[in-house]
Symmetry: C2
Subunit: 219 residues, 2 copies
């Protein structure tokens, strides 16, 4: 289920393969997400990523200077994608309530692979807190932090729009946005397939819960 | 503000100093929380923890076999405390709605040091996903996982109670509990003092948001 929010192949290529058609970068990122997501980043071996792609470790270092650098790139790309998805999902909505519902639902309407990438991002978000020693890692970290901020701002602006329109009761939009994001992100972390709910059902429940939280059903 | 939910010195001693009055364990844990919380676990030096306590590294190893072992103990203890706090906060409440409000509010009503410990826990929760190589680390990991499960069960049971009483509308209590926990935990992660809100204000807003989410104001 690759969902309602799709990006053009050109956009995806631009995001995932900035180095041209012969680049191994996209393949390495794909393999690293699988490796980090399934084995866990701590236990994951950089050599296993090379093996999955069928290249040697020196080739790996052509693209990423370290396992941490690769992780930070994966995180930054997922944040970019999350923001692009938010914009795509909300741009067609007429009311702030509809936009919020669409924004929350799309978070869970992703491929297995993207679900894994979201988990990798969320599980290591703490890495964004502290300065990195290497300039390339630090560049990714700062870009990722700026994206987190942009995402917070976008969700806040959406709630403010609803409050200005009068479809949502006036409240502290920033804190409410952080509560919504907390729920949306937190559900990913607490959710396990063993609970017997599909991601689709989870998305619907999360959207309803968020709408109740902001009183979006009031209108 | 050490809050409405306090534990007896005996309970705290039992939790923090299982090795008797002359043990350095509590001091080391305190120092490690400060170090991991302020510098970041990745960058934190095990030697700096020893320095903060004023002991040598060999003495440190008497209590913890590794930095990771110490982190897992910190996480397990915070989960124990979170669960004890939940039980204390909810036991006096007459309705499920009141109990939920009290349970959410108390999460933010903690000392600066406990706030740091909560962040250390939440930032490294991914460590609980994968088996540890060392038996002592694995023991802590399994204990922490069991506590996560017990916390989920307690919050679910609280919502079920409200649904049985008729004070909350009937819904999937498990998923709703995960949404509530997602919000409560997620707020900690997204919150920064720079937002200009106190933790107290945050707790009140989170409690209101959760009550709206479960329709607790309906009754």
């Amino acid at each position: 289920m690759d969902g309602a929010v799709t990006m053009s192949p050109a956009t995806l290529a631009a995001i995932y393969d900035a180095d041209g058609p012969r680049s191994k970068r996209a393949e390495i990122l794909h393999a690293a997400i699988e490796e980090f997501g399934r084995v866990g980043y701590e236990s994951a071996k950089w050599a296993s990523v090379a093996e999955r792609v069928g290249i040697g470790q020196p080739a790996l270092y052509y693209y990423f200077e370290s396992k941490a650098h690769c992780l930070l790139v994966i995180m930054r790309l997922q944040l970019e994608r999350s923001h692009a998805r938010f914009v795509a999902a909300t741009s067609g909505a007429t009311t702030a309530g509809d936009a919020l519902g669409a924004a929350v639902t799309q978070v869970y309407d992703v491929s297995e692979h993207e679900a894994l990438q979201i988990r990798v991002l969320q599980s290591h978000i703490v890495l964004l807190a502290n300065r990195r020693g290497s300039p390339r890692e630090e560049e990714e970290r700062l870009a990722a932090r700026a994206l987190v901020r942009r995402i917070e701002d976008s969700w806040t602006a959406l709630l403010e729009r609803g409050m200005d329109e009068g479809s949502l009761p006036r409240r502290d939009a920033r804190v409410l946005a952080l509560a919504v994001l907390g729920l949306v992100v937190g559900m990913w972390r607490w959710y396990r397939p063993a609970t017997g709910r599909s991601r689709e059902a989870l998305g619907a429940l999360a959207a309803e819960a968020c709408l109740r939280m902001v009183d979006g059903g009031r209108a």
